[in-house]
Symmetry: C4
Amino acid sequence: MVELEREGLKLKEDLKFYFMSPCDKYRARRQIPWKLALQVLKIVMVTTQLVLFGLSNQLVVSFKEENTMAFKHLFLKGYSGIDEDDYSLTVYNQKDFYNSIFFVIDQYHQIGNLSLGTVGYENDEKRKGLKICKQHYQKGSIHPSNDTFYIGPTVETECLHIQKDLLMTNHSRDLLQANPFFSLEFYRLIKVEISFRLKGIDLQTIRVRELPDCYVFHNKITFDNQAHSGKVKIFFDTDATIQDCKDWHISGSTQKNTHYILVFDGFVILTCLTSLILCTRSIVLAIRLQRRFVHFFLEQYNRHVCSADRLEFINGWYVMVIISDLMTIIGSVMKMEIKAKNLTSYDVCSLLLGSSTLLVWVGVIRYLGYFQKYNVLILTMQASLPKVLRFCCCAGMIYLGYTFCGWIVLGPYHEKFEDLNTVAECLFSLLNGDDMFATFAQIQQKSTFVWLFSRLYLYSFISLFIYMILSLFIALITDSYETIKVSF
Amino acid sequence: MVELEREGLKLKEDLKFYFMSPCDKYRARRQIPWKLALQVLKIVMVTTQLVLFGLSNQLVVSFKEENTMAFKHLFLKGYSGIDEDDYSLTVYNQKDFYNSIFFVIDQYHQIGNLSLGTVGYENDEKRKGLKICKQHYQKGSIHPSNDTFYIGPTVETECLHIQKDLLMTNHSRDLLQANPFFSLEFYRLIKVEISFRLKGIDLQTIRVRELPDCYVFHNKITFDNQAHSGKVKIFFDTDATIQDCKDWHISGSTQKNTHYILVFDGFVILTCLTSLILCTRSIVLAIRLQRRFVHFFLEQYNRHVCSADRLEFINGWYVMVIISDLMTIIGSVMKMEIKAKNLTSYDVCSLLLGSSTLLVWVGVIRYLGYFQKYNVLILTMQASLPKVLRFCCCAGMIYLGYTFCGWIVLGPYHEKFEDLNTVAECLFSLLNGDDMFATFAQIQQKSTFVWLFSRLYLYSFISLFIYMILSLFIALITDSYETIKVSF
Amino acid sequence: MVELEREGLKLKEDLKFYFMSPCDKYRARRQIPWKLALQVLKIVMVTTQLVLFGLSNQLVVSFKEENTMAFKHLFLKGYSGIDEDDYSLTVYNQKDFYNSIFFVIDQYHQIGNLSLGTVGYENDEKRKGLKICKQHYQKGSIHPSNDTFYIGPTVETECLHIQKDLLMTNHSRDLLQANPFFSLEFYRLIKVEISFRLKGIDLQTIRVRELPDCYVFHNKITFDNQAHSGKVKIFFDTDATIQDCKDWHISGSTQKNTHYILVFDGFVILTCLTSLILCTRSIVLAIRLQRRFVHFFLEQYNRHVCSADRLEFINGWYVMVIISDLMTIIGSVMKMEIKAKNLTSYDVCSLLLGSSTLLVWVGVIRYLGYFQKYNVLILTMQASLPKVLRFCCCAGMIYLGYTFCGWIVLGPYHEKFEDLNTVAECLFSLLNGDDMFATFAQIQQKSTFVWLFSRLYLYSFISLFIYMILSLFIALITDSYETIKVSF
Amino acid sequence: MVELEREGLKLKEDLKFYFMSPCDKYRARRQIPWKLALQVLKIVMVTTQLVLFGLSNQLVVSFKEENTMAFKHLFLKGYSGIDEDDYSLTVYNQKDFYNSIFFVIDQYHQIGNLSLGTVGYENDEKRKGLKICKQHYQKGSIHPSNDTFYIGPTVETECLHIQKDLLMTNHSRDLLQANPFFSLEFYRLIKVEISFRLKGIDLQTIRVRELPDCYVFHNKITFDNQAHSGKVKIFFDTDATIQDCKDWHISGSTQKNTHYILVFDGFVILTCLTSLILCTRSIVLAIRLQRRFVHFFLEQYNRHVCSADRLEFINGWYVMVIISDLMTIIGSVMKMEIKAKNLTSYDVCSLLLGSSTLLVWVGVIRYLGYFQKYNVLILTMQASLPKVLRFCCCAGMIYLGYTFCGWIVLGPYHEKFEDLNTVAECLFSLLNGDDMFATFAQIQQKSTFVWLFSRLYLYSFISLFIYMILSLFIALITDSYETIKVSF
């Protein structure tokens, strides 16, 4: 009995200590807040790493971007770079279609005298030159005037390989045009694809004391006639792969910059590993304490501890730190691999590092919560969150209904309602007061019926969401704030 | 007396059961919530149907759109597709006017060698070729220099039919230009209309395993000189009708896809019919119960039940479900007819299906209302709705006044105030904080008087609505929320 | 004493009656609410009149607009109508300058063969032809290379009158170019102005059964070199005056439409006059009652009535109605004069009619206020208005400070901060959440110092106004609402 | 003891007087509020000075701007001024590159016959003519086809000086093109810079009766090939310095305008100096009073006055006035120096004057606070400020996290996320409801992975900040308002 009481006292003390803030812990048991210091260090290191990665990433991205831009200007006839959507050009008659194709061939032939960059042909004999492929329905004849057609729906692909040397002669273009390959039957043509490879070297890294990389650009120009609607879209696709250059010589200083960064990455991994271990330990200890508490409660008062109280033991912040640490570690390893040219998945790496940094910064709020006055605000947010989510759920139903309805009815007449995803974004913007007049104005006035519906639809949606639902959000939060404030 | 009491008890129990939620009903009488299950099934089916219809609709719409775009590029001289408003081009001098007309004729003649699509001439002898009509005032002579004019206000129409074959000869254009029909007197010319038909086949449906459709495009190019202001607007109008192709052969697999969709549509109609019947039955039962209650109340307490209490019996949700079901059924039938090419009213069909889906999703809120915590929010919205509407009424008066005033005063100087409907949209956008600076900046600074008025007008409107009226909305909703919260 | 009491009782009753709503008055003394009926009639009539005026105004405005557009396309070399600001074109070198001038002369000469509209030369011999004027500093010589200049600041104007007939000959252009008038000394040239008149007839009114009007267009093209900065702006100004046509004949139906409208305008004036008289009478009666009341109060209780209580007697709504009536009457008279072609001040007329319509519609709120539930809202608005204005005053000071500061510091680097008025509009838009990113992005990055300041300036302004001041508005209104609600 | 009491009484009275408003002071001791009058005078003078400075600044700025624009049109081949970003043009192939360079040389040679402005060559023999410099890597050979390169990373600069006279001969261009300097090796070329000077005179100041200034324009055209990506950016940079003209003669009236402005500036300085002295005196007196109070408190009650109470003595408004006065004085002195052409730092001067004006206007609020009813609002703002700042701190952490995360992940795919600073601005705009749809739409759909992340990122950020955080702001302010209102 006495033992139980003693155990109870000890448990009480342990529990008290467990739910203390670092400052209080320091005061109570002179326990220096290592974990806190580690987290602060982590914020600094993770952010520095992110910024460094971002800056070096920017160089690579801008080199690729500018090369793509340059290729588009060199290979797409009539490309202006400003007026059109960035990824597409269109051609509406047969002459323009042929001209665009032969323009690519001509330009490829002269690339050395045209380009301002450091590009050259592929050296490999097999991969040198242009490859032109055309895709069409097997065979068929179409007579729209008689409403009759005979078609074989299987798709055939035919290719032509144009060697670079073949193009060197002067009357090569006449020869090419005479080639039966280029007498296209548009009614059954689905696609023409021209693909070729170019190589380049990114010299600008020399200025930041890094080694230049060698690039291979896989360019592909697609003339897309799938719709057979008289409008052929031209797409330009370039895919750049990075390799170590085979043979190089830079006179003067050697490049050591890379090493320092690798060492720094190592430190970041170490820091995160420590933080990961410490937090896991805390959670393990917490679960052990929870078990003790449950056991004691059962023995002493013969009562089960409800699951909500049990969850109190598991600190959500620790879980967040663990997730963030894991992401940083994986991301850093990937970053090192990218530096070593074993990997090229910049996207995944930046996503991991970015998300972990977001979590690390959000984690700072926890430390601010140790101050009384800041705590009111954090608690209000915590308290109102479930209500807000619950309410979002209700509003979401109406939102979904409007999304589907808008897509199906206004889709054919309004650019912003063309696919479900855009509709959702458009409505989201509208309810936050953006782009309203433009949305109203953009509807095509072909069918007055639909036009009237669109007015009803937009006015009702905006009024409902801005005047009713957003106001209710404010009411919810104000209410939570008042509740929390009283309890202090 | 005892009987009455017994009846009263039974009525009480029936009433209690009537106002129960499905969960409680299940607990009370083990009544499995068929209706609830049916509604959930309906949501899934209706949404699926909508998405399927939307996707197939998109193909048709995009084929029409792209053909229209292609025709505009082929037949409108100087059309760039980006710089201008989509539906209009303008011509300001006589040479351009004639050139634009002869351009259409030339292009039509060569369409086979120009177009990248699957278009061809109409086969029917009578409808082949171009038809050019000019509309002008009967006769007259105008001397602006002397401020004198003689005009016959009756409008005459003269037409010229140009056979395709006639255009085949080489010097056809010179012949045409020499035609007295083309010596236009601009001062009395009202309109020139060129109309012709082209046929096309939408082959891309083969990829989704559906049968290609044959299209007839009724194109009409209008040169509109109604205003006699020196600015002639050119409109391009195309109207596509879909028909079954007369004769076709597709080698390989047959097309069965359509059948599955028809069967699915049938199931949707069946589900909605069941739901419709169940809900009608519920309403009938409710009215019967209401009568019993009124009767009992009159007999027992000798009091009339007030109409508000009577209305309580009629569940608004059931009414909504019935409306939604009716719309789905009609919409589905239309959809099947469209598939069978008996109807082409895509708009009405999509409107019916879209609206019914909106209602079905809004209906989900009702089921969420069965949970206590969600109910607070729904009740708040219900409670504040009348107040909000009443207030909208007041605000609407001021809004209307501003609309009229803005239209008349700023109309001639500001694009957004050109017609009443646009003014209303512009003001609505402004009060939600959109496009403010653009609206301020767009006013033409011709008259300083009007310019000053426009500032006063815009500042006062925006301040009044954003600072006073929107804030009052928030006050209303907050108040309702507090009232509802207390009652729980 | 008894008399006084009797008088007191009578006064009490009169006061009670005076402050009654029309409905109560009807119930109390069976007084039919003529005034109310009259106001409702007035709303209908005034709105109808406004719409009619607006529609006819639109025709006139669009004719002028389109002619201006057509002239710009005909006379301004290189005018595209889309890319540039609507009112200005610029020229940067001497060749373009001369070309633009001679282009105007050439086009004017051929206007008959160019224009699609109904324009002709002025018949009057004196006013026929082009007038070219150049303005320059008296004399001077400028040597920027030596930093020296000699200039006479008095401005001289030299003009050349080109007769139309002179232009008819073939080698006229060579003759003109040889004219010493056209050897311009750009360093002292201030302006070149070309002005000419054209006449036109607006035939489209025939369709709405009104008589066509004859127009005189006073066109002026200005080449503005005031700044001597190497950039010459070209302005096109057209001023249209409307006249009755001298001699006309329209075969067929006569035009009676105008008479009906004149009669309708007369009715509107009559209605407003009645309303004006009734309201003036009410106010006179109110003042008389107030005097009785003051007198009685002084005699009976020997107390002065405070001025706030005195003001209660004067019904603000009546004042509004009187103002609105006066505006309508003046506006209607002007409208009739415009119809009779004695006046052309469309702007003033539309402003008067527009404002009066705004007031008439706002007046409807008063009648809504007779219902209990609507009254809460109106009273809240009334109660919060002084607080809101007082607060606007405080916020206005900060706003003014920001306006001045932004103008002086950011003016040279940011288009939106170029003049005080635009700054005010820009800040107003920002605080309502519009065009924020664009404003941030538009600043020129010439001086990092100013760039940093601009960030500080914008962030602080937006945060202060959106988070503090707009929230306080909501607090004010919510508070007023609660105060009012309790008192009911 | 009695003395202490007497001292206590006197102190009490002094304190009472110290914390009085000017009106009360006047009533109490008939002390005329000189300081108040001075401040009002200051507001008027400072604002007038600012407006005058702004207007004269505008002339200078517009002259520079328009000259820059004119130079761009004259020297940049293919510059349109509308389509491109204002500061950059791009060139994608070698022919265009050479053409652009020779275009500059040609145009420079003919500037006298081209320009419409008052520009001329530099007279100084040494500085006359064009200077073309090219920067390239020391030496090297690059073979992208073989993935090999040899490069010397040291940068060399080579220059060519083209005398104006040399260009005068007819076949000069052929000579130039033959020059080996112009056979560029693009793979190692970093930059080509063409620089030249032009002189101009700003004559338009004559109209405002000021003396014309002489300008030197240092123009520099840069062809930037740093990235070696095939895209060469062309930058035009002009730097204008203002000087007194050496020799000038203006016939007629002399220019006295400048003197008046200098006198006015003197008055402003005097006023601010007086205000500065008075406010410093007040603060000194306040500190003395505070010391007396602290001393008395210590002696009488033996208690220390806490630091918050001590701070009460220092009037924040006085500090603000002192800062504002200092800024005005420095700014005015600079303004006089600029007028005297000893300084050209317009930016610093306008920043000082602008900021001081902002502070002066904000200071008006203090005087409004003397009225009871205005005070409520000011106190609310004061009371809520710390809470708002504290909350901003919490929200700022999340904001920072989102900024970093968005930059790293979305940076390569979204224009608005390209650098940290733009990300911050974009997010700030989003949370205030601006540019939402555009931000959603602008993401490039290259990687679906990143695209999905961007949706999650944007939806979560906007929802969190608009629905939770902005609502909490309103709750905070409403709460403060209620607290303050009760205490009155």
